[in-house]
């Protein structure tokens, strides 16, 4: 856990936008998993909103990665 915190701090310092979108995407995926596994019923619009938010953060993260690769490589 200590190592994970240390790594997170380093990642936050190296690429804060990337790290923030990564954490947001994983957090939303976690929420989706909990809701689906627990069997809670979301309204269709809420479920779509959640999926759209996940897709937004995942795609944004990948775009930021590609930008970082193309700038630094």
């Amino acid at each position: 856990m200590i190592a994970l915190i240390g790594l997170s701090i380093r990642a936050l310092a190296v690429a804060p936008e990337e790290f923030a979108t990564l954490v947001a995407g994983i957090a939303l995926l976690g929420i989706r998993s909990v809701i689906a596994t627990r069997g809670h019923q979301l309204t269709r619009s809420t479920a779509r909103l959640l999926d759209a938010a996940i897709a937004f953060f995942v795609v944004l993260f990948l775009i930021l990665v590609v930008i970082r690769f193309s700038v630094l490589a």
Binding site: A11, G25, L29, V65
Partner: protein, 615 residues
């Protein structure tokens, strides 16, 4: 012998303990074989060349014991596990028992990485690509400190049998929940350990991450089961009908994980998901390739109705790409082409992975060809198993095929195909077992089946016994061939105590700033001081297999190497793989001596040279 048959009770008891007696006999003969093996007599065929007849008796008895138990009226799990453990010991513990020190240069190098982490508390940047995924090395450092060692050298020698025994538990779970029958599952497990010649179980991040991979697949298969399919399968399904069924696998229902259901409570499923995420995170930080193989396996299980939570695939992808971008930037800065350069280049990757490996002298090429033939034979059997079996879901076939997509992503320095075989092995071996013992139940029918009329029941029973005897013969042949080809490189990949002593001598006497070289790869070295005294390899200063004796000599002389270690393993590599002339080492050493070097220490299998007098 069937239950209720009229044999005397003593005969039934004798038959009952026969598998254990055979196993015990196998263990005794193995101990004798290991005791008799003369490592010094090893020739270019490697480990098999020093094994005497008791070793083959041990293999025959152990395989026979396993098969008698497996094909008996009621196979008992405890006995099957015991006999599989014996097979694992024979296959993977023989080399450490016979060879004087741990084999493979890379395992010693990994110990050097771990020692750096122990001493500095962090990875060494810009040194080696592997250090950009330091999870396994950090774990090695923690374990070394935990057992009170100053380094990880104590772990190297017996690591292969240890990690193979660790693989047994997830492989049993995979077999149990894969949808194949009970006997086919155990036969598949035996084939898994009988066909693993790939030698990625040495002390390495790959060995640890393969355990992660197996645990993840086993957990998913044990947690989610496919919902029953309602198929209106005609008596003789056409290709069009099968294509229609296949297209159903691309439905949103399936991609959303709705065609698989968890066998656990919601709380237990959430805990399992959390644990899987932790293992995925550990894997993303500790190996370059395994996280992507895991993602492909998760996708295969999603398509195969064996994964109910598609989020897991996305999380695995985010961890892998996230670590590559944020944690492994030391590696990819300036080397982006090494990561993405081979994407989609199937032709070049196959060339690098197959034809590029068939090099060296005739003995070495024979071993490499035997490896390729064994893989082809195994995949052929798996294909027969896939078309013969009846099943609820085609997840095994998808898992076996998914590993091939790795080749489209990375040639992995010419080792991509090896990893494809490695990652597909648990599933391919279960399918190969289904060639002999196909499952008879399930919504999805076989593509091909024996049609036997009720009048030919006797023939059918005979056919079943023929299949069982054939299965036994296949395990025996695969086991023996695998043992031979697995240790086929040991003439240069295993080391003597003299070679280790030569390395130790140089580390004791070399001063910081002095350069240490060896002519060709393969020595037990680089296990300490990797930052201040890295040992370099002359033959690796050009493309692999492009080096020559003259090139190595030129490299050493132009580098003004302070120390040069020459050894029997290096000489064997030059002859077997490098294409150097037999006996090349003697004139090579004479040229170095004529160029100002002096022999400062010597052992029967190693010589240490120093530039100028030793002060």
């Amino acid at each position: 012998m069937m239950p209720g048959s009229r044999e005397a009770p003593w005969a039934r008891r004798a038959f009952s303990i026969l598998p254990l007696l055979l196993g015990l006999g196998g263990a005794v003969f193995w101990l004798v074989a290991v005791h008799e093996a003369n490592y010094a007599a090893m020739n270019s065929f490697g480990l098999i060349s020093v094994m005497t007849w008791p070793f083959y008796v041990a293999i025959a008895l152990a395989v026979a014991g396993f098969l008698v138990e497996l094909m008996g009226p009621i196979p008992r799990t405890s006995r099957l596990v015991t006999l599989i453990v014996l097979l694992i010991v024979i296959m993977f513990a023989t080399a450490p028992a016979v060879e004087p020190v741990a084999s493979l240069y890379d395992s010693w190098l990994h110990a050097g990485f771990i020692q750096y982490v122990i001493e500095h508390g962090r990875a060494l940047n810009h040194f080696d690509a592997r250090f950009s995924w330091p999870g396994a090395f950090s774990l090695g450092a923690v374990l070394s400190a935990f057992v009170g060692r100053a380094n990880a050298l104590g772990f190297l020698r017996w690591f292969p049998p240890f990690i193979e025994l660790m693989y047994l538990a997830p492989v049993i779970v995979i077999a149990r929940f894969s949808g194949v029958g009970h006997r086919a599952g155990w036969l598949g497990i035996a084939l898994f350990f009988s066909c693993n010649w790939i030698y990625q179980d040495y002390f390495s991040p790959q060995a640890l991450n393969y355990l992660f991979y197996l645990v993840i697949v086993a957990t998913v298969l044990a947690t989610w089961q496919p919902r029953p399919l309602e198929l209106d399968e005609p008596a003789h399904p056409t290709l069009w009908h099968r294509w229609t069924l296949t297209r159903r696998s691309l439905s949103m229902l399936r991609l959303g994980g709705h065609e698989a259901e968890s066998t656990r409570s919601s709380s237990a499923t959430l805990v399992i998901l959390l644990l899987l995420c932790l293992v995925l995170l550990a894997s993303a930080m500790s190996h370059q390739l395994t996280p992507y193989a895991t993602i492909l396996a998760l996708i295969a299980m999603l398509f195969g109705r064996r994964l109910g939570r598609p989020e897991l695939v996305v999380v695995a992808g985010l961890f892998a790409v996230g670590w590559l971008s944020l944690g492994a930037s030391d590696f990819w800065l300036g080397h982006l082409n090494a990561i993405f350069g081979s994407i989609g280049r199937f032709g070049g990757t196959i060339t690098a992975n197959v034809t590029g490996r068939i090099t060296g002298n005739a003995d070495h090429r024979l071993i490499v060809n035997a490896r390729i033939l064994e893989v082809v034979a195994l995949y052929l059997l798996a294909f027969i198993g896939a078309v013969r079996r009846r099943t609820e879901a085609r997840s095994l076939e998808l898992l076996a095929a998914s590993a091939f997509l790795l080749l489209a992503l990375q040639d992995y320095g010419g080792e991509g195909l090896l990893r494809v075989v490695l990652f597909g092995l648990p599933f391919v071996t279960l399918l190969a077992a289904s060639a002999f013992l196909p499952n008879r139940s399930g919504a999805i029918g076989p593509h091909w089946r024996f049609r036997i009329s009720p009048q030919t029941g006797t023939v059918h029973r005979q056919g079943r016994w023929v299949a069982r005897v054939l299965a036994g013969a296949v395990v025996l042949v695969f086991f023996t061939v695998t043992f031979a080809v697995r240790g086929g490189n040991d003439a240069f990949e295993s080391f003597t105590t003299g070679e280790l002593a030569a390395s130790e001598y140089v580390y004791v006497h070399a001063k910081v700033g002095e350069t240490i070289w060896m002519a060709t790869p393969f020595m037990p070295t680089n296990f300490r001081n990797i930052d201040s005294m890295p040992v370099k390899i002359a033959a690796y200063q050009t493309a692999k297999t492009a080096s020559t004796v003259d090139f190595d000599l030129f490299t050493l002389l132009s580098a003004h190497a302070h120390w040069i270690i020459l050894s029997a393993s290096q000489a064997a590599w030059g002859v077997q793989v490098g294409g150097y002339a037999k006996g090349w080492m003697a004139p090579f050493q004479a040229t170095l001596l004529a160029s100002g070097y002096r022999v400062v220490a010597t052992w029967p299998t190693a010589t240490v040279l120093h530039l100028g007098p030793l002060v």
